[in-house]
Assembly symmetry: C2
Homo-oligomer: 187 residues x 2
DNA sequence: TTTGCAATTTGACTATTGTCAAAAGCAATA
DNA sequence: TATTGCTTTTGACAATAGTCAAATTGCAAA
């Protein structure tokens, strides 16, 4: 739990009381490679913190799996759409490695918001940061060529390339595996 | 101001006190077509609510203007990256039509957060909703073809096509103007 | 080591999109 | 009505990326 708290501290410094309340609300979760946190069609009622491990988010499009997201150490993870709206998730979240996570239900989180203004502030700040990050990914996706996107991945998140198979990465980059293979051979 | 309050009400219902505090903090802004809310290289210290009008966000890439965003009635507008981090904006925000806006400084907003937990809650909820919206745009950008992206635009936000010139729209879709013109002639 | 399977690369060809240049359409205005 | 400037369309060709199939590589189980 120390790792989670330290990470939270990077967003906003909480009081001892708030930290104690959080500590009582998170549950540790140890899951094997291949396990699913969220599956398509089901409502996702939890927010996860990934302490150790890796996972991918993917959905099905015309029979093919589209990987749209990777999560690693110190990421907050959920099907945001489902968690926020309460509607069934359109995507799946699956562990790529055996992982250690901490989970909190939406219900408990809402309760914490009511009792601790500062926890809601922390989450507001986390959303801000995640928003900016997503905006950057969006600009990358929309306005860069396949080669530029791969180069950005090499530069900004090389750990993805080291820990994830090419098939998933090419899907994540929105290009075919063959094209990615050719890009790599050219660089 | 009524329109802003009604819009906020759709996210979270504020008390009379909080509304009064907001009312005292927002400033009306009437600007002509072509005016800039934010320019590249300058820190954006305000959040805007667009009551009437339209605008685009764009940045320069290798001499070309890339339009990455449009704002219309009832949108919250800022250079999120700059507003949140305090760093200089990389993009410009320019009015496409004469517009009526309400503006609040980051400083005032932070003060409101401290005095009114419920205002911070409202903003947290707005961020959630904007996050989901951006996530959808991201998936569209990364995994759909040019034709599909244009069709999605027609279906989800037809007002954009009615009010914005093709040159901006093609840039927004991440395709050349000629390709967009050909897509339109084929449909 | 060898075998078997999955991941990755390569080849040949097709489809999509981009680029540059020219033409057509449209609207304000002199 | 003619002129001007801007937006949109069209044509010809080049570049980029996708698809399908086959070869190669890498790695783990036997």
């Amino acid at each position: 739990m120390q790792q989670l708290f330290q990470h939270l501290n990077g967003f906003y410094k909480l009081s001892q009381e708030a930290l104690a309340a959080l500590e009582a609300s998170f549950e540790e979760l140890i899951l094997p490679k291949g396990a699913f946190l969220v599956t398509h069609g089901n409502v996702c009622r939890h927010m996860y913190f990934l302490q150790k491990g890796a996972l991918r988010g993917f959905y099905n499009l015309e029979g093919k799996e589209i990987t749209h997201w990777f999560g690693f150490e110190n990421d907050f993870i959920t099907s945001f759409h489902s968690f926020i709206t309460g509607e069934p998730a359109v995507e799946n979240l699956q562990l790529l490695e055996g992982s250690i996570l901490y989970s909190i239900s939406k219900e408990k989180l809402t309760g914490l918001f009511n009792r601790h203004h500062e926890i809601e502030r922390l989450v507001r700040i986390v959303y801000e940061k995640y928003y900016i990050r997503l905006e950057e990914r969006y600009v990358n996706a929309q306005f860069k060529t396949a080669t530029e996107r791969y180069e950005a991945l090499l530069k900004n998140t090389p750990h993805i390339i080291e820990r994830v198979s090419l098939g998933y990465i090419s899907s994540y980059l929105g290009i075919s595996q063959e094209t990615l293979s050719r890009i790599r051979s050219r660089l």
